[in-house]
Amino acid sequence: MIYLIPGIRDSHLSLNKMKDQKIVIIDYDAGNIQSVKYAFERLGITPVVSNDEEVIRSADKVIFPGVGEAAWAMNSLRKNGLDQLIPQLTQPVLGICLGMQLMCESSEESDTKGLGIFPLQVKRFTNERKVPHMGWNELDELKGSLFDGVQEKEYAYFVHSYYVPSSSETVASCNYILNFSASLQKDNFYACQFHPEKSGEVGVRILENFINL
């Protein structure tokens, strides 16, 4: 069928290198991880979904997804000791949406303490415009390997009511009400406020770049 598997294309990337990797998606009962799993499957990778410390530590790459409410999600992480584990990981870790926000110091959402990987405070959008910020918005000021091959002003899909302000860890920006961090990076920790698994070809490229780090 011609139109199926829109994510897969011939590229300069080594598909074999990608397929050999062990990708672990952290399972902490926070929202829709199926979409993330399917996005990797479209790239020919079968990720492992787990909350087990040994499994997570043994991964080549770790995905920290998240949809939902911050305090509730942090509680779920604590139940499994994942709040202690995640900041200690040494392989590349990619936080997505709420995952990115939880990697920060704290969030205004239910006054939640985060994992403290990024020394940043998550804030709520003011009601100057509609909240949540929902839909496709442009990525600006792209830096670093996650955005190789992604052009300035390409679109990614966002759904969020809280944001991470711009900082020295910001590697992509977005503007809605104000400039905020669309993506962060520090050492082996990477994060996207948008959903790469739902961001069409741009998202596919970003996930490929992460796998190829």
Partner: protein
């Protein structure tokens, strides 16, 4: 800049698309998964699947379909039709849907909105509202527009927002099927009243109608079915046109 979204709506029955889909270049126009992938390729920003069987026995078919779509599609999609409990929603989200749309069940049981918002987050709760303008007022209708609910449109939308709806899908029954344009005056009024996104539905006939609903109607997204299914409007052309009118779209 946040772009305006173009959303094709696919009616499905027993896991297959219905309602005059006329695509010669698809092998099987009734295959909802193939059609969805086609629209994603064309640049649709999201998709809505409306299950028009929606009987209890057929739910499993819908869940299977959602799973198949989620496996193929790399853009967000919403599923609606006959959803009345948090359990229904949990199953659909776990199968890979990004959002669910609730309509009559929310009017009959408004608490459903807050239950879903607190359990799954507002971002996945689309409240769909069908309304008809008659005798100087907008009234909400149930059961696919067959039953007047005796509720004022504006009161209901405010209530839906207050209860935690993440988005409103407003269909004007006066405009639906006319191909004379969206209910822009009312859409603009709604958009100024509430602080969550509004999807305009009902009345799309040409590309100008989309431009008008984004400018005059202040809509955040526009949904249509037949103009896309019959290729009266092709999404790449529509987006090029909107861009030429300085409307922000993802191309």
């Amino acid at each position: 800049m946040l772009s305006k979204r173009i959303i094709p709506c696919l009616d499905v029955k027993d896991g297959r698309t219905v309602k005059g889909v006329n695509f010669v270049d698809l092998r099987d126009a009734g295959d909802a998964v193939e059609l969805a992938a086609y629209y994603a390729e064309q640049g649709a920003d999201e998709l809505v699947f409306l299950d028009i069987t929606a009987t209890h026995e057929k739910r499993k078919t819908l869940v299977d379909l959602v799973q198949k779509v989620a496996k193929e599609l790399n853009i967000p999609f919403t599923v609606g039709g006959g959803i009345s409990t948090p359990e229904d929603v949990g199953i659909l989200l776990n199968a890979g849907a990004d959002k669910v749309s609730i309509n009559s069940s929310a009017v009959r049981n408004p608490k459903l909105i807050s239950d879903l918002a607190s359990r799954f987050g507002s971002q996945c709760v689309v409240v769909a509202v069908d309304a008809r303008f008659a005798d100087g007022k907008w009234e909400v209708y149930l059961n696919g527009g067959r039953l007047a609910a005796g509720i004022d449109l504006f009161d209901w939308i405010l209530e839906a927002e207050r209860l935690g709806a993440g988005e409103i899908l407003f269909t004007s029954m006066n405009h639906d099927g006319t191909k004379n344009g969206f209910a822009n005056e009312t859409l603009a009024k709604l958009s100024e009243m509430i602080n969550i996104p509004i999807i305009a539905s009902g009345g799309a006939g040409n590309m100008e109608h989309f431009a008008d609903t984004f400018t005059e109607g202040k809509a955040d997204a526009a949904l249509a079915a037949s103009v896309f299914h019959f290729k009266e409007i092709e999404i790449p052309n529509l987006k090029t046109y909107l861009k030429s009118k300085n409307i922000p779209v993802r191309i």
